[in-house]
Assembly symmetry: C2
Homo-oligomer: 387 residues x 2
């Protein structure tokens, strides 16, 4: 059920005509005023809806999200920003909100103008169809090259967290990643949502990659309706934070599993780094290496490529610390290298999941990363799809 | 003729038995004592021959280079270093040199032990076959997944610069790149070679990429025999520097053209950046983006992906400066974006070469990068080849 699982939310997903035949417009709202927050792509080339939504969030707590797929409204100049603003104005009018209470998101082709008329007439249809059953339609309407919808729901003690996401290509951290909308009825005070969202996003959406590319549009949005009759305590806050983390982990994992052309998901666990930030840099470097990813596609425990990648992880203008003689490495629990000494083993990489554990033996820094393999289908999809 | 084109050099390339049927061992020497220098991979995981050769270069001017393909002798621990040292000792004995006058290089599978016996018996054969005609055999013996040998020769006024290289995979800058040996008879004083080599490598071998991956082994070596009867002047030094740059540019361009699975070479020219280092970071980011590279394989002027990459170029712990409204971009001379405004053109990307010119409109920083496309064959080669 995704974004309508929590009490107080309605959603719809409709075919506005931006894409051929498929649903391409999603609308989500908290029926009563609530609170919310968002985290954005770190790309320096921000899409128009990102620019506009950041301005809106600075002015008001969000109460609705309008999302179109098919056109990213990125690299579209002043006209693009005007179109994004007009989208928010239209949605706000239909919902009885102020424009700055509306977040607008887009995903699809960069450089093409937003077909504003289609978006606006689609919003009229979507506003009429808004319902507490609309979560699945909304989750379907935001997809691009995804092969299926991605939703997750966690029920806590008296509250609920639900979400939907799209991913597939340009999946890379720092929220250059994908679109995700998470809703909850857990009662949050104004301004508080970001303090819960940030720690949930860092080890999940910000620790996955499909191709190391970082989009101009992507965002994770949290809307909180406050409709759950929960008495807040430190323990309930912890339970909410844990539920939010679970939803983010579930959605981000689904994004990698459904990565463009993916046949396998690899979990890269780096331990023993000098610091957690160095561990993350190394895990990211391994997770984005085309040579590591093609070897995974070939079901080959080609661990030399993991070492190669670990040794060239950009960090602070140089490379992260690695000492070959201290490195231990295993695939799916089978050691291939212990203290720098090859073990002459041949671990199996036959399954749909591969766990690579790299212990640098230098310190206490640890980080994990999820990545997909690099397959023929990845090339096929991206050589032919204009994104 | 490659490394034996300059006066005073002999070379051989033989089949030592490390690889099946193919030549796999090259030996190059300056007949008389000369000078030389090398630049090395920046990977933190250094292969044993890199560690040993760096020690040798610190002790003496180099006079010979022994190179094996098939096994990288990387991630092989203390035994690997002992094997690399033994290789140098054997070569030195055969050539009447001190071990520290010998540079040893390896390329091939990481983690496998060097078959020292084969290398040593191969060196005995190679030493007997050394000749001034041996450059082509040597250039053939260092190849791995390369489809053909790469050589370049430039004749100056009374001197010559010749070289050979191998590339194909793990091609990425900071000499995490490939193997190249360049020889010259231009007279250089001890210690001077590095001052000529570094500026020739920076815009050539250090500005190419096939897959953004960075090997544990790679090196560019310059040997100078001093055999040319040239009276050195500032003008002749300039002519030598230009010839060396030409050879490095020719070899590095051949490496990209013969990149694993490459069907197209793209030249990424970034101008108008805040600084040259930011320009290089942006050019590198574009040149390594899987989405840009798959679009090139699809002959698609998918310029949104170039913007996406430009906006997420890691620099100084953040991203390089980009302002969307100032960006102009063209493919093969056809503008797609001028001052941030899409031109709604469809440039042709049909040829074997694609030139992408990105003007950021911010400053005077400029840099160029050569890259290949990302094709089905890249995936096929790297899913099946153990490197």
């Amino acid at each position: 059920m995704s974004v309508t699982s929590a009490t107080g939310f309605e959603a719809a997903g409709v075919h506005a005509g931006i894409r051929k035949e498929r649903k391409d417009l999603a609308l989500i709202r908290s029926v009563a005023p609530g609170t919310g927050a968002a985290m954005w792509t770190q790309n320096r080339v921000l899409a128009a809806p990102v620019v506009v939504s950041q301005q809106h969030l600075a002015l008001a707590e969000p109460q609705a999200v309008a999302i179109n797929s098919g056109v990213a409204n990125a690299a579209t100049g002043e006209q693009g920003e005007a179109d994004a603003r007009a989208t928010a104005v239209t949605a706000a009018g239909l919902l009885g909100l102020q424009p700055e209470q509306v977040i607008v998101l887009s995903t699809g082709v960069i450089g093409a103008p937003l077909p504003l008329g289609l978006v606006q007439s689609g919003l009229e249809v979507a506003a009429k169809e808004l319902s507490t059953d609309g979560g699945d339609d909304a989750a379907e309407a935001i997809l691009t090259t995804d092969t299926h919808a991605k939703t997750a729901v966690v029920h806590g003690n008296g509250f609920c967290v639900g979400g939907m996401a799209k991913g597939s290509g340009m999946i890379h951290p720092n929220l250059a990643t994908m679109l995700a909308v998470v809703t909850t009825d857990y009662p949050l005070s104004p301004g508080e949502a970001i303090d819960f969202l940030r720690p949930a996003v860092e080890p999940t959406f910000n620790a996955i990659t499909v191709d190391g590319d970082c989009s101009t549009n992507d965002a994770v949005v949290l809307l909180a309706s406050g409709a759950a009759p929960v008495e807040r305590t430190p323990a309930s806050d912890q339970a909410f934070a844990a539920a939010l983390l679970d939803v983010c982990r579930d959605l981000s994992s689904q994004i990698v599993t459904d990565g463009e052309g993916a046949t396998l998901v690899a979990e890269i666990n780096v331990t023993g780094a000098i610091s957690a930030t160095e561990a993350k840099a190394i895990a990211q470097r391994i997770a984005t290496s085309p040579l590591v990813k093609t070897a995974l596609f070939g079901h080959d425990a080609n661990w030399g490529r993991v070492l190669m990648a670990a040794g060239s992880a950009p960090f602070n203008g140089g490379y992260a610390h690695v000492e070959p003689a201290r490195i231990s490495l295993s695939y799916n629990g089978t050691a291939v290298l212990v203290g720098g000494v090859p073990q002459h083993t041949e671990p199996s990489v036959d399954g749909a999941v591969c766990t690579i554990d790299l212990d640098l033996g230098l310190g206490a820094g640890a980080a994990s990363y999820l990545t997909s393999d690099l397959s023929y289908d990845y090339v096929r999809i991206n050589a032919s799809y204009r994104s």
